[in-house]
Symmetry: C2
Subunit: 196 residues, 2 copies
């Protein structure tokens, strides 16, 4: 039987539910909490998502797409040197984390640690999102190499991975300390050393 689908409701579930999961963790909230926050009946959830894991994969996709649409364009800004674009990208993320006093962490990182040991579906989506993020960075790093701003012998793909990994660790620490200091340290110490 075809189930009734309302795109406005689906979109509300994704955006409000994403906030609930980001704030309380995947296992720290139930479908009931998500539907209550979105003000829809609990049963309707399954008209839109096959399972809570399915929902997690969707909010991860939305989370990354939202970051990419807001902050991705800097990677193509020909007015800015490639390595500076990377610094500006992360500086913009620092400001966003500051809007929540650094307490939320990165949804990608949070679900990486909470779920990747238990849900193959989420793990695959996490790997995919991280690979796309690193693809953006790697192509910017290769541009820096073409312009001789980064030594040619550096492995751009590997460097992109290392940058994302160190960033995620900094955001994690920011969450524990409820402070932006680790994020600032990433921008002022780690990133310049990695990009030398």
């Amino acid at each position: 039987m075809a189930r009734p689908v309302n795109l406005e409701v689906r979109s509300r579930l994704l955006s409000i539910g994403r906030q609930v999961v980001h704030d309380r963790g995947f296992n720290g909230c139930g479908v009931q909490d998500i539907t209550a926050a979105a003000e829809i009946p609990k049963g309707s959830f399954y008209n839109y998502f096959a399972s809570k894991e399915d929902f997690a994969a969707e909010i991860l996709e939305e989370y990354w797409t939202s970051i990419e649409s807001r902050h991705g364009p800097i990677f193509y800004d020909a007015r800015v040197k490639p390595l500076e674009r990377i610094g500006q990208f992360f500086q913009a993320l620092v400001l966003e984390h500051g809007e929540h006093e650094y307490t939320l962490g990165c949804l990608i990182g949070n679900l990486s640690l909470e779920m990747s040991n238990g849900s193959q579906q989420t793990r695959a989506r996490l790997a995919d999102v991280l690979a796309r993020w690193e693809g953006l960075l790697a192509s910017c790093l290769r541009e820096a190499q073409q312009r001789r701003e980064l030594p040619e012998e550096r492995n751009a793909e590997e460097l992109a991975c290392v940058i994302v990994e160190a960033w995620e660790g900094a955001v994690m620490r920011g969450k524990v300390l409820q402070s932006g200091a680790p994020l600032q340290r990433f921008v002022s110490i780690v990133l310049p050393r990695l990009l030398e």
Copy 2:
């Protein structure tokens, strides 16, 4: 009324319960799962721990103490250069994570992302454990500076923080990929660049 306390049972709850939480996450398991794994009645849990949060703080303490007792001595090994001690310490952790195919993550990192937004008690313990870890690293870095193996102008405390943060991000990524590659990248790329 004084409650009966059996140190053997408490120790069993801590060691077996720690594995359960490490494997499934704090919110991914209940007190019932922990007591069932330790083969004690559920109600007895509260003879030993005031709450599940209290238990989380205790397993974090035990987790770090166990790492420190097994791998901490390298930091004082006068036969090894200070910066090499740091490399050896992390290489030993890479091997340990490999024993679980990199799927578990670091308990400190896992609980940082899962709990620090919801439990002040856990957050405080996490901050304390991380500070002690960094203290070990910082004192080793200062020794390297005294021996002129690390530039004097580097801030050893800040560098120690950055090292731990980047490591935690690498372990997180290893968990998503179920691979040791990010941990090896930390040892072969990030650490040498940070210690230059």
